[in-house]
Symmetry: D2
Subunit: 287 residues, 4 copies
Amino acid sequence: MKSQKATAILLLSCPDQKGIVAEISSFIYKHNGNIIHSDQHTDFETRTYFMRIEWELEGFQIKDEQIEEAFSPIAKKFNMNWELHFSKNIKRMAIFVSKLDHCLYDVLLKTKSKELNAEIPLVISNHMDLKPIADYFNIPFHHFPVIPENKEEVEKKEIELLKSRNIDLIVLARYMQILGPSFVKAYPNKIINIHHSFLPAFIGAKPYQQAYNRGVKVIGATSHYVTEELDNGPIIEQDVIRVSHRDSLEDFIQKGKELEKIVLSRAIKYHLEDKTLVFGNKTVVFD
Amino acid sequence: MKSQKATAILLLSCPDQKGIVAEISSFIYKHNGNIIHSDQHTDFETRTYFMRIEWELEGFQIKDEQIEEAFSPIAKKFNMNWELHFSKNIKRMAIFVSKLDHCLYDVLLKTKSKELNAEIPLVISNHMDLKPIADYFNIPFHHFPVIPENKEEVEKKEIELLKSRNIDLIVLARYMQILGPSFVKAYPNKIINIHHSFLPAFIGAKPYQQAYNRGVKVIGATSHYVTEELDNGPIIEQDVIRVSHRDSLEDFIQKGKELEKIVLSRAIKYHLEDKTLVFGNKTVVFD
Amino acid sequence: MKSQKATAILLLSCPDQKGIVAEISSFIYKHNGNIIHSDQHTDFETRTYFMRIEWELEGFQIKDEQIEEAFSPIAKKFNMNWELHFSKNIKRMAIFVSKLDHCLYDVLLKTKSKELNAEIPLVISNHMDLKPIADYFNIPFHHFPVIPENKEEVEKKEIELLKSRNIDLIVLARYMQILGPSFVKAYPNKIINIHHSFLPAFIGAKPYQQAYNRGVKVIGATSHYVTEELDNGPIIEQDVIRVSHRDSLEDFIQKGKELEKIVLSRAIKYHLEDKTLVFGNKTVVFD
Amino acid sequence: MKSQKATAILLLSCPDQKGIVAEISSFIYKHNGNIIHSDQHTDFETRTYFMRIEWELEGFQIKDEQIEEAFSPIAKKFNMNWELHFSKNIKRMAIFVSKLDHCLYDVLLKTKSKELNAEIPLVISNHMDLKPIADYFNIPFHHFPVIPENKEEVEKKEIELLKSRNIDLIVLARYMQILGPSFVKAYPNKIINIHHSFLPAFIGAKPYQQAYNRGVKVIGATSHYVTEELDNGPIIEQDVIRVSHRDSLEDFIQKGKELEKIVLSRAIKYHLEDKTLVFGNKTVVFD
């Protein structure tokens, strides 16, 4: 359940040790904060501690812009990787598409209905096909045709545009281009892709065709952060649906479209609500 | 992941208010405890706070038998309902059965393989049919035939037996008798039943027949704590499986048997690991 | 897999007896038809036989408009309830809505992308809220405000309109009015509703609230043909999704919206492809 | 629904062409057979037709031992691959195990309760650990220790034993040895394995470890016919279960055990009921 009041969210990981919870919760309590959510996880293999803690800011005795500084000594003491988020800061999300419209429609409709709490300042595509959809939702549409020869240059321009629009999150909604390494580096753990298979099965092109050829009895979809290695980034969400010999390749694709929408929008939602933490090639998702 | 070391588990609920986490975690930290799991939940409707916190006892500076007393002032301050459990105390579980053997086998096998961490001092039945199974697992089998005329008297004897064996948890593994109100009162939130439908659909007798007659496309199973009102206790776990017109009543029953085993053993596991909290007619299950 | 060629579909039920398949398949073969799908089911309780058989019309030696007459003697001989459909006849579907837009968008988008093979000549609503959506898809929107006093009269006008538009199928896409008995009688097994619970649990109003109050661990959605008895018609499709104590009522509603779309559109698809047969209060769905 | 009466089952595939159904159903009808199940499938890519047809033998005018000969001309005419089975012939199933007992228990219990309709004349293992289980079920247990040096020789002896016991189906119930090519050739499409991943992900050793390392959000199990290429045979059944960051490798293994049992026993059931057809590296499963 979401609080109607403004909240702060602390997302952190650090070497596991005694006293972390006590210190953090005392920090919040001492300054009159009301914790409304607190999730933690310990990875026992690497002895790493993960936490997401959210508290209401009403009555909190530190001003928003000073919380970071006030918390810093604790973060240092425990050697934390940490981020501080405020619920009032709506994330700005760019959507990349090619020609398929189902994920685009789904993300736009869920954003419109506030299921996804984001602003969408722009849609970027290497084709013109989906411009009418962006138009219908009153979202600026930017056309960046890509050919192998101009890819690096185009990506530079895209990054410039994204930076100029203060984009926090990039969603590849069935975008049929592979992003280059410098693009990926510019947005670490900020690019979410939907791959239409249960990874790591069927990496690369035409996963439904691969699945059909292999004769599987379930097909899947995987949403993951994009890293330099194709289809190998940290998985945020996966789900599957049954198929049978009665399903043609076309049926695989149609059933898969439903899955892609569901899996992608769940992953986006987790990210927008600051519920994901990446460690190594895995994620902690505090659902 | 379970700790290999001995742990203490605090399970509590109280009116939501500031400072609970800070106080509890400081209590543990001050006495040198290492928190390995901490889950919390706030029910915003009733403003109730729920917590399960587990810490390693190695190095903890309060002796096991004194923790209760030491924690009492905090519990009082926040007006808590609370329980303290120790991982070293293996729970003692009685199984009630009638004639169907699938849930009995499943619970016994999972207990034998330590998936369910319990001792089973006895099996009770109103029939003799399943005695050979108890024998195979070297578990005393007690036969209590029940007829409407002697039910109350029989239940008294059963309770005596259960008390004499220090039973912590009673599992109704497709036990075909309805327990009387005084039996239920003797073990509040300590009796787990498996009902073979997705409650609240198909309460009462012959739920598969009811489901078959209704023409449903999914069937379910529900594990719940037993209360005085039939099939209406707090639900711990539910799951479903698809059926179609091709499935006969017999197929419903067979598919359902798999579900019943899975749903019942998950519920037992949650209870054995002190992960369930009852409030009103609902449960919080910290999975 | 769908044939690219024009096909005929025979949908029938009759008392089970020897020779049905032989007679029907010989009828098709004799006139040079190529069977591409054949599904059958026998309900052993009532000894009823169900069949769906589809064949390509290319080269078939009976003209489309004469097949009915040619097949009649066989139908009589076996005392069949039967329907003959042609794949070239696209069904005409009316959508009824109130204020919620998710199912409407989903049906319109899936129809646009040909996942649902139908024409939508009109949208009917008791509110004006969703008119802009119908406009965007260029579908006439008809506003029929309903109050208890005028309900019967309004329904008469709606039926007139539907008849004048040759509507084959009516979809209640979260339409918040209960249809009167004469409306239901006018379209037997031609009105598909989506109910937001796994029926028969939580019949009637506010099923998510009911589910939330009961503390269930799965929620569901059910698509069924509308009969005079509320939420009690033959079920076409059901599905569920897990919930937990962490889910608020608002989360139930949001998770449920996904389910409703999926379950409703599957049911519509089955109907549009002539894959459903109703018997008593159940369906045979040849998926 | 199963018929209580003796039935014959014809399982066939052939090039798709007109008249197959007519010919087969007329053959059965002419000799007074009552068809109780008929499933068909057309693979449009390869234009291959698949059929499973089952009829009651009571009153059928051809003696069991003469049906094969009587049907032969039809089979020849359509160039069929075909098998004729009789429900009265209970299949004889050998189970291969190593040290893990969950699948063994599951198959034995389901066979005992007639969910799996088979005889189990023997259990074969490369270890002695599970002999007591075979003893409990009164099934002869044969110990064949395998080392790389003697593998071929041991497999020869196993085949001899299997042949002498007229084994129809071999089930690898978490058998930790890879069968050699001559063993596989001796039982084409008669050896069913359970692999503990959703193939083709995580082929080979330690799939749960692989899945854990990859950070997947669902794990799976796959039952397939064994071919010479490791974990690459035709898939009969697959299913999955959700996992999260909270699940340790040990949890993966425990959740997976449930899946393995379910997926393996479903695949065995399909095979025992003559519902599977292999084509290329895929299966048609008439559920």
